[in-house]
Symmetry: C2
Subunit: 335 residues, 2 copies
């Protein structure tokens, strides 16, 4: 049964305890890699099986050890535990698994990725940036804790992410862990999130943004971190450089598709479904894929990117089933 | 000759090219470790010998590789290359040298430390934080580039610092590099810069801040990063855990002394000497060491901390001369 994005979203909102929500047992992997396979693979069950451990690891990653750090830890956890799809941790674990690596090996990197993603959300929502009061249906960090603490909590999450992965990754060659640190570091710098965001701000101020510029922005704002998520999982699972490169190609394409889908959802979905203000792009006259390509062509582009992504993983056969199913989910989701 | 802090400051402001400023050759290390030794050691010459390579490594650490990243790299470099005493890089190199490690081994960590320090200055100066327009005699980052770009440049510097150290540290056991990553990561989190800053903000809003609270704040806002600087240098130089612990004790004490000296300078120095607004603590009714202890007792406390710091390095004999001289400089400086 192909999951509807709606039932998947419901599953992802479920409490961290997985057992009560798990459907009847199914084989973890489908048996063939035909186009039907990703459909047969039970992504819902797979995601539920990862959700509990990921939420637990995230919660344990920030721990106030004295009264003086209570407030900053509370602010960090407020945003870190505010729900969300946990797509970056999931694809990191799935990529590690594709190379027969255990979840245990990749979980610290998975947590680090979500810390970095959360930092970027906290800082993006600030009044001097996107000025958003609502995120995942809740008041944004600075609305609750003030701008100053929100900035510092983002800094702390970013910094702790590196500590977390370097300190807690066990049973992996240290040189591979350093490789993950390098990639995580790059994902926020000029050729990552922050670079993409600055270019985005520059383009907001000008007329006639091109498709190339929009693609550069989304590659760096969104795709890079997903790319690092999949590559890190692969590296920690023991992949060769060539295998890591194939994974990166996959992730770059699903990352771009993710952003095209986001732009489409901003036009087509309700604020209630999104958990954030819908129609904001049009209100702020922002350049989006639907604006440059039209809605239908944007949908076609997202599908094309996903098909290209999936082709990169053909060499891994059935072991790629979770990542292939996630790729489909990214363009079919409702929020 | 004991250097006056003024001539030292002048030396530190000198151009990166060292040769033209180098005084007549002196032995790199004094021959005994009596209290007179740190005085005999030519700190001016030592600092000048490090300044060129540090400035060069900092400049090369941020490099825009495409037109899209030009603006964020410019903003990052604006603050990174705005001068400053480079104390953290210098103590990192000096600690590495104390264990016969080359500057080459510790330089990536030295650069990472200055990137982190610069990030903290950019974010601290923001309107929602200390709201400072002037830093090192120049307009602060957000005055030039806007709040949004300043926040993102800080994020990029923080993130790139980890990439830089993990990617560029050569000839060192990877497990030691990971240890440095862990310490750098911790230095900005709840038990580091960000935690100290949040506690500082909380204390600004209340009456009757205690000496214990003030010490906690300064330990985390200031001393922790210096501690990581010295510990990282020692680790990269090949120190044993016990030797690293002795270095950390030294650095914690000089870090606290550094902050006490900063509080004293805010009262006694001019805005011109400081390169930032003097008298600001009193204007903003901030709790400082001079306010809690009085000016003379604060000076005595700074000296006591420095003496205690220096005692931690006795075991290293003459090899500790640069760090001992830096300790003295910290309480004697004029800005």
């Amino acid at each position: 049964m192909k999951l509807s994005a709606l039932s998947l979203a419901a599953a992802l909102m479920a409490a961290p305890q997985v057992a009560a929500f798990a459907p009847a047992a199914k084989p973890a992997f489908a048996t063939s890699l035909s186009s039907a396979t990703a459909t047969e693979f039970d992504l819902n069950e797979y995601l539920l099986s990862k959700k509990g451990p990921i939420e637990k690891a995230l919660e344990e990653s920030v721990d106030s050890n004295c009264p003086e750090t209570k407030k900053i830890c509370e602010s960090m956890l407020y945003s870190l535990m505010a729900g969300g799809k946990r797509i970056r941790p999931v694809v990191c674990l799935a990529a590690c698994e594709m190379f027969d690596g255990s979840d245990e090996k990749a979980m610290p990197a998975a947590v680090a990725l979500e810390m970095i993603h959360t930092m970027s959300l906290i800082h993006d929502d600030l009044p001097s940036m996107d000025n958003d009061d609502l995120r995942r249906g809740k008041p944004t960090n600075h609305v609750i804790y003030g701008e100053d603490v929100a900035i510092l909590s983002g800094d702390a999450l970013l910094s702790e992410s590196f500590k977390h992965v370097a300190l807690n990754t066990k049973g992996v060659d240290p040189q591979r862990v350093l490789d993950v640190v390098v990639r995580l570091g790059r994902s926020v710098g000029p050729n990552g999130l922050a670079g993409g965001q600055v270019m985005d701000l520059e383009c907001e101020a000008k007329e006639g943004v091109t498709l190339e510029e929009l693609t550069w922005i989304h590659t760096h704002k969104t795709a890079t971190l997903l790319q690092v998520a999949v590559a890190s999982g692969a590296i920690l699972g023991g992949a060769t450089p060539e295998e890591v490169a194939a994974c990166e190609k996959f992730a770059l394409n699903i990352g771009l598709a993710f952003q095209v889908a986001d732009d489409i959802l901003d036009v087509t979905a309700s604020t209630e479904d999104l958990g954030k203000t819908a129609g904001k792009d049009e209100d702020t006259d922002k350049t989006t894929y639907p604006k440059l390509l039209g809605l239908q062509e944007s949908k076609d582009e997202a599908r094309r990117l996903i098909d290209e992504a999936k082709a990169s993983l053909e060499q891994f056969g059935d072991r790629a089933a979770p990542l292939l199913a996630i790729a489909d989910y990214i363009v079919d989701r409702k929020n």
